[in-house]
Point group: C2
Chain length 351, copies 2
């Protein structure tokens, strides 16, 4: 299991200072998340043995986006609880307490996360180090799990992509975005399928009956911008500053599922029901302003670490810096090609 | 509320590399902790609504000592559970799961803690940022709380100690150790009493009926070595490198309770029963070898941060470095004055 932390700290290239994209996604999904809780969550079942909501944020990074999501989830759960209380005679009067388990890889900067926790939070906050492709919690102990831009990160890169004898060899590219070879996308999807099977199996152990998982992932729009990082690397290779085989042997471990992909992996697993699934168009301020630089800085904060890890800090940083310098070109490209940005929202319930 | 983290990271003066004293304490208390669990813990009551043990380590710092303590506690709880299972017909066959909540101030280095977690641990591990003089957990959610060298840290320094008009003014000293003025000790104890009242009140909310708190604190021996840090600061004052009023206005927020002190604060609070209380002599390898330097390095890793915080890094580091240089003098002093090192062990049960 490999880990790919966001850029640490709070410096100029840090995730905490460049997470506007993720903020848009969290804000874009807000109404859907609240609606799923109000319409679909069965409070009676999930709180049958507890007066405390146990919530986990899977892939929380360092904030601040994770805190705004947790805040509206706590508020929605409280509203739902009060609605239920009004409907039931003799129901306990105690407002439930909330525990939030902020999970990310052990390499995540939990110190920054903890020091950024809102002072006026209405929940008990904990850090959970470890991959969410493994067990993190005792059996049947979680009521609500949330992950935004989390499950896009594959547990590893499928070998075929870097095997020159394989039909899925992804020569000269660093992702399936921009690849004309369908075998490349297939290899990515196969890995996503395997990872999600593991993900659902471990979550099914941890989540109480009737408990909910909400997954939010980018679907269209800025995903296609990833290819510019690959072209910067190829520029360096063409200038002789980098051996092209290093590009051939690298692929970003990111997969962006379609609604069809998501339906397939959930049904195949069989332990969760799909309560809501929707593509949501987000009004991207970033796109309206065609602020390609902000957009690319945001992408950079997510992927620079893994690029440096493969190419070394000198080449990795130069490739990222060059990509940011292409902002004008990227801006032109966006005006012509940019799809309306949208996210995939899915709410699942433990059967 | 002020926080006083141990020296961070894993450098030459870090707590993680200089925590031999705390290791001795943890090892010294091991048999008592196990015995208290086996003899005194009422498994039936505490697990009546859960098949998961919720354990917290209060003031965990960064490891490695916290991990050895948690390991033997998990083993003892498992043994106790199996003993109980043997005695009861129709008792569930599931071995319970363990959640361990590692707590310390938000300024603690949780990144080091998480990266040092044992790979083969048999528990789910979480980090809990915050002062243990406040609420950390939902009501009635903790079964076992452990703190070694934690409650020695007062929440703050009583004002009288730094008020030159008060009879408790602690002029020229940085602790009650070495002070001839009884008002100084009284002021320290009064703060300890207030802090423990808060500590027991919040823990009483969090701990299930029959749940246990184990507290381990240094009692005699190396405590008296703290005065050498004070004398190094006074040396600097006498050399004109430091204004003496800065020494007068500083006191280490550390109190080392006697069994009588502990009995008094527990009884005054009234929410816990004393199941075991004992002074344990520890066979200090450090003392046998009269390794004053190792001992002083260990003390330094605990208190350097707070000294630097008051005196600035230049003076603070110099005072600590000078104290270490006095190892020969300290060694001589130890041979004449050193009491047999002992720790206070107390096991409490939530009524």
């Amino acid at each position: 299991m490999t880990s790919f932390p966001m850029n640490a700290g709070d410096g100029v290239y840090s995730y905490s200072k460049n997470s506007q994209l993720h903020k848009e996604m969290i804000d874009g999904a807000k109404e859907m998340v609240i609606d799923a809780i109000i319409q679909k969550l069965d409070i009676k079942t999930i709180l049958s043995s507890s007066n405390t909501f146990h919530i986990t944020e899977l892939g929380c990074s360092v904030g601040p986006n994770t805190f705004s999501a947790m805040q509206y989830i706590v508020e929605a759960l409280t509203d739902k609880y009060l609605l239920y209380q009004d409907q039931v005679i003799n129901f306990t009067n105690n407002i439930p307490e909330f525990q939030i388990f902020f999970n990310d890889h052990v390499t995540n900067d939990f110190n920054i996360l903890f020091r950024s926790l809102p002072f006026d939070r209405s929940y008990y906050a904990y850090g959970v180090p470890g991959s969410f492709y493994g067990r993190l919690f005792p059996s049947r102990s979680i009521h609500f799990a949330h992950s935004s831009s989390g499950i896009n990160w594959l547990s590893k890169i499928p070998k075929e992509l870097v095997d020159e004898k394989s039909p899925a060899w992804n020569k000269g590219l660093i992702h399936y975005v921009g690849a004309s070879n369908v075998e490349v996308v297939n290899a990515y999807f196969a890995q996503f399928e395997k990872d999600m099977e593991i993900f659902f199996n471990v979550r099914a152990e941890e989540i109480v009956q009737g408990g909910m998982i909400v997954l939010i992932t980018a679907f269209s729009g800025y995903i296609r911008l990833l290819k510019f990082f690959g072209s910067s690397l190829m520029d360096l290779a063409n200038e002789g500053k980098l051996d092209e085989s290093l590009v051939d042997s690298f692929n970003l471990p990111l997969y962006y599922p379609s609604p069809q992909d998501m339906t397939k992996v959930v049904r195949k697993n069989g332990l969760f029901s799909i309560e809501r699934m929707e593509l949501i168009n987000i009004k991207s301020n970033l796109v309206d302003e065609a602020d390609a630089k902000t957009l690319m800085m945001s992408l950079r904060s997510s992927i620079e670490g893994i690029i440096i890890n493969h190419f070394g800090s000198k080449i990795g940083e130069e490739a990222c810096a060059r990509t940011i310098l292409k902002s004008e070109e990227i801006s032109e490209w966006m005006k012509v090609n940019y799809e309306k940005p949208s996210i995939l929202f899915v709410a699942l319930k433990r059967k």
